[in-house]
Symmetry: C2
Subunit: 304 residues, 2 copies
DNA sequence: TTGTATGCGTTATCAG
DNA sequence: CTGATAACGCATACAA
């Protein structure tokens, strides 16, 4: 049993291919008699016709495909796969509502990975946790006018829309939750060095008071210098580790999952629905080829 | 700056499009003079040519696209998005190594969702946590000869390859870890009723001793009947909840993330590398149209 | 060793 | 209102 094409429908309904296409696509500029319309629709149903998006894409030069490229950290922790799970899920959901399909890819800095964007003629791309270095070398593969949004990545290119959590505001919320100035900061690692620097800077803490998590021993060493003092942790899973040593912390829940933490610690969360606006924005770029967004920077604002 | 086609390369190199195609695809049955080969390769590089997989797909009738359809539970818990994050990540990784790209889709039982498989001409599909009901009604959209593997789903159709954790073995391991027979079982909900029944059955416990988690109150009520008794929990995140009440548990870590649990509880884990064999099997189906696998049932075997 | 021509399934332009 | 027909970018049988 082979897949039916519009040609098959045309034959079955005794009309031309063009007519079938008009009817299936509900082309407004063409007027079709009700008679042929039902005839064709019936045939389509009978033959269980489904459109061939591959052929369609080739013709109309739009694939309806959106890429989510998730940059993997070289040596990730156990929560690496959870870190952006909710983000990816949410973006996929919204894309789906808008009629797009999503190609999900984890990139391990292979050049071949990026080629996918061009090869598959994606309509838009989300890059998550992208590193400047590996990125810069291949950015000449982009620039073909498709919208690129970068999440948790500080890329030196004004073409891209940047989306990062509002750390400044989150830190203020943490301070409120702690009831005083934090004495230390423990943060999860990010591929993007500039983002990492930004976090450190926003915290307002000196470097000796900041720990970028690498392994349990290192964390323990660090924490032993702050017994009983209040501190901030970026990433709730990391906070889970920190809690083994000290309880006076507030956590910035960058993984959108405060539930893993006990209610006794201050938890700053971000609203996943913020992605609604972002994906819709991308949609607008896709629909309207020469739309330009005055706002290229999106902050996810945290709430306690 | 438009994308270059093989036609552009042909023109630039002064050869025919066929020749270009032969060279780019490294077609063995054609012998090409070194001279034209370098000429063409150079032109391709200069024009920054990337293949158009859409056109390719249309021609060769293979898209190189594999679908991962993740069935969402109607009312999920906070860990729903993590439940299959590692599985999806692993499958994508292996697919990537084999040269496939992955379309990731969460399905909320819309008929339109399944159509994607046909519309996009996927080469293969993984269905995760699929419910029999919603599934049966639309399975006639399948059967076009593409391999379908179902994960954590017990579908009444011998066409599909089924992959589920080896619960029987896991339960035995739990018993060993607990040092005695468990008195109760708390399990996460699954879309697939038959799988849920299978789990209950394999536990060998009476229904009164089994709790399918719905909400914290219900869990507390249940657990209060088993103060100080040993039990088993399916799903490590759920185990985190159970631990708030009782400590004598062993957990079957179906989310591949034992790390969220303290080392003091027995943890049964599964090896993500098992998916290697599975994805390679799918690849074989795709490559060799009439390959049949004698083994249609794959168990992921748990290890303490 | 290279080129010509056809078609994959669709959309869209132009005649009828 | 409907129908030929030319692309879209590529792979390949067949000719040269």
């Amino acid at each position: 049993m082979k897949k039916a094409t519009i040609k098959d429908i045309a034959k079955a309904a005794g009309v031309s291919i063009a007519t079938v296409s008009y009817i299936l696509n509900d082309v407004k500029t063409q007027s079709i008699s009700d008679e042929t319309r039902v005839k064709v629709m019936k045939a389509a149903q009978q033959l269980k016709y489904v459109a061939n998006r591959t052929a369609q894409s080739l013709k109309i030069k739009k694939t309806g495909l959106i890429g989510i490229l998730l940059f993997q950290e070289q040596e990730g922790h156990y929560w690496s796969d959870f870190k952006y799970a909710k983000t990816v899920g949410k973006i996929e959901q919204i894309c789906g509502q808008l009629g797009y399909h999503v190609i999900f890819m984890q990139v391990r800095s292979q050049l071949s990975d990026y080629k996918m964007i061009m090869e598959r003629n994606l309509d838009g791309v989300f890059l998550i946790n992208a590193d400047q270095e590996q990125f810069g070398t291949i950015s000449n593969y982009f620039g073909f006018g498709i919208p690129v949004f970068v999440i948790d990545s500080y890329i030196d290119d004004s073409l891209f829309h940047k989306i990062i959590p509002d750390f400044a505001q989150s830190f203020r919320a943490c301070e409120a939750a702690l009831g005083g100035r934090p004495e230390f900061l423990v943060t999860d690692a990010y591929n993007n060095e500039k983002l990492a620097g930004f976090i450190r800077e926003q915290s307002g803490l000196e470097d000796e008071r900041i720990c970028v998590y690498d392994n349990p021993e290192q964390l323990n060493d660090f924490l032993s210098r702050f017994e009983g003092k209040p501190g901030i942790v970026i990433n709730e899973f990391l906070a889970l580790e920190v809690l083994k040593k000290t309880a006076r912390i507030a956590a910035v829940c960058t993984c959108h999952c405060p539930q893993v933490l006990p209610g006794t610690v201050g938890r700053i969360t971000f609203d996943l629905n913020d992605y609604q606006e972002i994906v819709h924005k991308m949609d607008r770029y896709i629909q309207d080829a020469d739309y330009v967004d005055p706002e290229k920077f999106y902050y996810l604002s945290g709430t306690p």
